[in-house]
Amino acid sequence: MSIQVEHICKQYGSFTALGDVSLTVAKGELVALLGPSGSGKTTLLRIIAGLESPDTGSILLHGEESTEDNASTRGIGFVFQHYALFRHMTIFENVAFGLRVQSRQIRLLRREIRERVTELLRLVQLDSYARMYPDQLSGGQRQRVALARALAVKPKVLLLDEPFSALDAKVRKELRDWLRRIHDELHVTTVLVTHDQEEALEVADRVAILNHGKLEQIGTPQSIYDHPASPFVYNFLGNVNLFHGRLLADLSPEERDSGAEPSIQSAIGFVRPHELELSRDLPVNGKAVTASVVRIRSAGPQVRVELSIAGNGRPVTAELGRAKFEELELVAGDEIFVRPQSIRLFDDDGARALLLDQGAGI
């Protein structure tokens, strides 16, 4: 079932949680809503679920107007950040709940319910835990039960509200991969809310980035990572070095002949740490700045080098592979040349992306 979010606005007092957000989730797609806390991503999810109602705008499920529908009739599965399992019921009863409260006309037989719950518990690999209570399970196991419970009623849409954020890093990673596998198996239209950019980029078919109640950008993980639409998106999708500078417009030969001054525009530039090239010698085109090495962190596959630009002392971080690092023989205190391999420029207020210029002056 597809989800269409059309011009949703939601205000809490003077705080704008969502200001005119529209997006579409195709049938069978997994879309991540990514943003910092307070960006409105959870509010949007709850509006899709019918747990909150928007001030204006509408939600269409499978092309049908559903804004006023009650949460209990929307046919959605919802997974909460803190699991929200029924603590007084066994794992089996938790998963069976949605089936047991169905109206008599459509309710499954006792035996059918048992079969379905058993099958789901097998899917989440917890069939041996059926008789236990939620507080006897670990966080990761509880969230798997919560997912099984949500899937029991065969929802047409699955909504997950920061489902892995209460878990430790290793379990989080496992569950993330596992969620993707389940999605590939069942093809339920899924919306995942997260503040973890790695999680969003890894799991989702498309990622929607929200900030201050506005949709900043939506696209495939690859496209938003490679072509961020705004400084916010650039910043949010990983470590970044920020440069303030002025842009000198290139003059055509005629203009140059007439002695015109080049127009100057202030701009901000972003360079990812791995896009900074370090060298002992001045690059041939001469476009590089000198910097001194402040600190080196070499644990892990990539080596992080913290630098201080000569002259203005701005901190910059570079990342390079181990081989390159060993070749350079860097130690703290070294003077070194830094050259951005690519730089992405935005005008001063970040509203507009400017043309890319390789190795522009910093």
């Binding site: 679920a49 747990l51 949460a71 209990s72 009739t73 959605i76 599965g77 919802f78 909460f80 803190h82 929200a84 399992l85 029924f86 603590r87 007084h88 709940f97 949605g98 409260v101 169905q102 419970r149 949500a150 029991a152 009623v153």
Partner: protein, 293 residues
Amino acid sequence: MSGRGCHSSSALLQPSMGQRAGRVVLIAAALIFLAIFLVLPVVAVFMQAFSQGWAMYRDSIHQQDVLSALRLTALVACIAVPLNMLFGIAASWAITRFEFHGKSLLITLIDIPLAVSPVVAGLMYVEVFGLHGWLGPWLSDHNLHIIFAAPGIVLATVFVTFPFVARELIPFMQAQGSDEEVAAVVLGANGWNVFWRVTLPNIKWALLYGTILAASRSIGEFGAVSVVSGHIRGLTTTLPLEVEMLYNEYNFTAAFAAASLLTLVAVVTLVLKKSIEAATGVHQRGQEKEDEL
């Protein structure tokens, strides 16, 4: 400076003779106080009740008036306690699950019966329902008796025990949050199913705890009931009122026999309360939340 620090920390681990003696004196004082003001009186009640022997005790309780007082007390408790369970659940549900105007006013109102003297509560009902009260003439025209009759006693008891269930449930339900209920709704449950399958099982211990407190108070209430009862023997006296009347008639054995019944109720209440606390930790959790309020 450091020497003193050293000294005091070792003193904490190994109390000196003086400190040890101080501790013994304090504990002894507390125990003696408890013995004189609590244990001794309770023992005295039973001693006095049984002073003329078991047969006399049994006869005292088997008096017509005492039995009818016992019956009235049970009746009042059986009406007042379920009413306040219903009210307590409704109020706690409203306060912890919804946002509405006047919420803090409602929370304050719930506490009024605890703040106001029971005698005042009784007088309020006399003023409203009494013969010379606001509704008195209309009530007497329709031959309805509230004051100096059982309905008045029920009303006064309901008022006095009003806060007990709600005050237990509100902090407890606040601490639990509404996640499970929201989850149930999303899974397709209607309000009825949410309440019976999710809410009630989660609050049952806190509810039982509040109910026991309300029950023991409704059985033992004296002040408010005394004002509205009219003390008509065999008709409008509850057990506490009967105890006072017997006592005023110098019928000590009977008075204490009846009083021993009330004392037993108190003891049973305490035991139940303690065992619920031990079983669930209900009160500790509730108390923390209450401190935040």
